[in-house]
Symmetry: C2
Subunit: 136 residues, 2 copies
């Protein structure tokens, strides 16, 4: 398969695929004329790479993990890398969840305001005192 098709089917740009090769994430054969030739499996591989990128991993981190997909041989270091990244992702999820909840709270306040604009001034400290324990 050629690069354009892979790009289309994996939902990434052609440039991105060349970049992945440059980073060692995807290996492509070459036709005699120099065009990249990808196996079918490249599409899934690229989707997996995208998944990890979206989770905040760097090329370098992904490069450390990919060999496991190829060989399915789990060295202790590999297992650690996997669990480490999982842990980092968990931390990010927690941070995002906090932000989500905080926004939800503000949205609740906004709705409350729209119902009765005049009587909402008492909610001010609810908005302000979120990240620290309530005073008084």
């Amino acid at each position: 398969m050629r690069i354009g098709k892979v790009a289309e089917r994996a939902g990434v740009s052609v440039r991105a695929l060349r970049y992945y090769e440059e980073q060692g994430l995807v290996i492509a054969d070459r036709s005699p004329s120099g065009h990249r030739q990808y196996p079918e499996s490249a599409v899934e591989r690229v989707k997996f790479i995208q998944l990890l990128y979206a989770a905040g991993l760097t090329s370098k981190a992904i490069l450390q993990i990919l060999p496991f997909l190829d060989t399915l041989v789990a060295t202790p270091q590999m297992t650690r890398r996997l669990t480490d990244e999982r842990a980092r992702i968990r931390v990010r999820i927690d941070a995002l969840t906090k932000a989500h909840d905080r926004l939800e709270e503000l949205i609740r306040l906004a709705a409350e305001y729209e119902n009765s604009p005049a009587t909402c001034s008492a909610s001010a400290d609810i908005a302000a005192s979120h990240t620290s324990p309530p005073r008084r």
Copy 2:
């Protein structure tokens, strides 16, 4: 309060605080000599900003949201901004959760390998066929 103390208490760098001011996220008074003077509330405000940064919002998006914290006046646009950002965060959480689950699956495979390295070759397509529905 001066910039160093705010930085320390909010857990950010002095440079970051100057950057926030440049972006209009935090307004600081100035002493006659030109040193920034922050109110107590600045610490919480900065923590909130950090929370949103961590959730992937840009300075511009945060700038759109901050007025609500100050005034607690919810215009329809403000409510939309809040819900929009909440939605984007949800999308990110979902993406991260997918990556998390995928890694978890790989970790399971790795553990399985460590228990019986020889008998694991049959699991290969489990690792490969995740993002697409099973063939055959």
